[in-house]
């Protein structure tokens, strides 16, 4: 990801943001909104309007919480990506979203069955999900559930009827593969 034209380093951009420089914030939006929107859309797959609302909420939260961003713990994008992911999952789990989905047929058997089965998730071939396509199916579903649905390892173990240790190992392995693809 390119560093904004008017800021030579990410650090300069962060300092401007912490000064509540609205111009810096505008540049931040121009540079990262598309990438973050892509992640949001991969989690909230069926409602573009809602995804737009989440994007708005995410940027307002970035503005409000910029003081809590600690550069020693990671890059700015990583921090923003996690805000976007958490906001999306929160929306996905919110009561109003659940209610809006009530009348839609959800494949309840998605998370059932064994890991060996080829489970067809509604994966759009975009973003990180495209990378997931390259993973083994038993790995892919775990990353999908963990990352895009926000389930904990314990919840996934329970859901999939596999031992917690297996979940952890497979996710780790999947993530390592992911790293290979991202390099």
């Amino acid at each position: 990801m390119g560093i904004p034209n008017t800021y030579n380093t990410e650090q300069e951009l962060v300092l401007a943001l912490k000064r509540r420089d609205n111009q810096a914030f505008s540049i931040l939006y121009d540079n990262y909104a598309g990438a973050l929107y892509s992640i949001i859309k991969q989690i909230i797959t069926d409602n573009a309007e809602l995804a737009g609302d989440v994007l708005q909420e995410v940027f307002i939260n970035i503005y409000r919480k910029i003081d809590t961003y600690d550069q020693t713990k990671g890059r700015l994008f990583t921090w923003m990506l996690n805000i976007a992911r958490n906001a999306s999952i929160d929306t996905l789990r919110s009561k109003s979203y659940q209610n809006s989905q009530k009348n839609q047929e959800l494949p309840d058997n998605v998370y059932k069955g064994t890991a060996n089965q080829s489970i067809q998730l509604n994966v759009d071939n975009i973003g990180l999900k495209k990378v997931l396509e390259k993973l083994k199916p038993e790995h892919r579903v775990l990353v999908e559930l963990a990352y895009f649905k926000g389930f904990t390892h314990e919840e996934i173990a329970d859901m999939m009827s596999i031992p917690l240790g297996t979940v952890k190992t497979r996710i780790r392995n999947a993530l390592l593969q992911l790293r290979e693809y991202l390099q």
Partner: protein, 272 residues
């Protein structure tokens, strides 16, 4: 700890993607302070992730940026003002005894209201009194005036009722056919009264003059105007008269009548 093994364990990816639990995160952050190679590996994954994500970027809905910037501007403007280092000095007027202060305030407030009310009431009464007084004076004035007028009328009309009074009907001459007046002549006391019925308006330098014709010789009985606020005019007395005549003379009257302008003439019984 074998840091190489740790780096290869998948913890970096879990940490960066937010999939590590709290204990794992704390350990990772702690180790990052000790192992630069761990930080470098984390950075490498982060940059790969960021590069990939930006490659997969999607056009966000068009209105979002405007809404975000508006919300930010609102937040900037809505931010609480820093507390002034010189707060305004506010001197509170508090009574030492809190309990009685409330009652005292109430009594004070009630007193003020009562005083204002009383003043208003007094002023209103005074005003009303003044008003009535002045109206009373006006009415008194009118009553006096009316009484005087009435007395005068009663006085005057007594002449008309007097059986000794001779009524002389003055008729218009050829010069002034419409002129008409009555002369009331009390033969017992020689009083002469005139009632103007219809006498034309004269120029302001002229007046009517009443004459008594005694043995063919006119005697002045006084002047009068065409209009008067009196019903009955008291003229000069005369003991004798064969006729009464009215002429138009200069203001104030003439010693001898201008007979050409004689307006009306009335003969008495003495003329027969």
């Amino acid at each position: 700890m074998n840091i190489k093994e740790y780096i290869e364990s998948g913890i970096i990816e879990a940490y960066v993607l937010g999939l590590a639990n709290q204990a794992e995160r704390a350990e990772f952050e702690q180790l990052c302070t000790q192992y630069p190679e761990l930080v470098a590996a984390r950075r490498e994954f982060e940059e790969g992730l960021e590069k990939h994500a930006s490659e997969q970027a999607m056009q966000p809905p068009s209105g979002v940026k405007v809404k975000v910037l508006e919300a930010i501007v609102d937040a900037t403007q809505g931010a609480p003002e820093p507390v002034s280092s010189n707060p305004p000095k506010i001197i509170t007027m508090e009574n030492e005894k809190k309990g009685s202060s409330g009652l005292l305030r109430f009594v004070a407030a009630a007193s003020v209201i009562l005083l204002v009310g009383l003043a208003w009431f007094t002023y209103q009464s005074y005003k009303q009194n003044k008003d009535l007084e002045s109206r009373n004076a006006v009415l008194n004035e009118k009553l006096n005036s009316t009484q005087k007028t009435l007395d005068a009328i009663v006085d005057e009309t007594s002449v008309l009722k007097n059986p000794n009074t001779t009524v002389v009907n003055m008729v218009g001459t050829k010069v002034a056919p419409k002129s008409s007046a009555n002369v009331y002549w009390d033969s017992t006391n020689n009083n002469v009264f005139l009632v103007v019925k219809n006498m034309p308006q004269l120029p302001s330098d002229k007046q009517y003059q009443l004459w008594a014709l005694i043995d063919g010789k006119p005697t002045d009985l006084g002047v009068f105007d065409s209009k008067s606020d009196k019903v009955i005019l008291k003229m000069k007395d005369t003991r004798k008269a064969q006729a009464f005549a009215i002429t138009i003379e200069k203001q104030g009257g003439s010693p001898t009548p201008n007979l050409d302008s004689m307006q009306s003439l009335g003969k008495t019984l003495q003329s027969q």
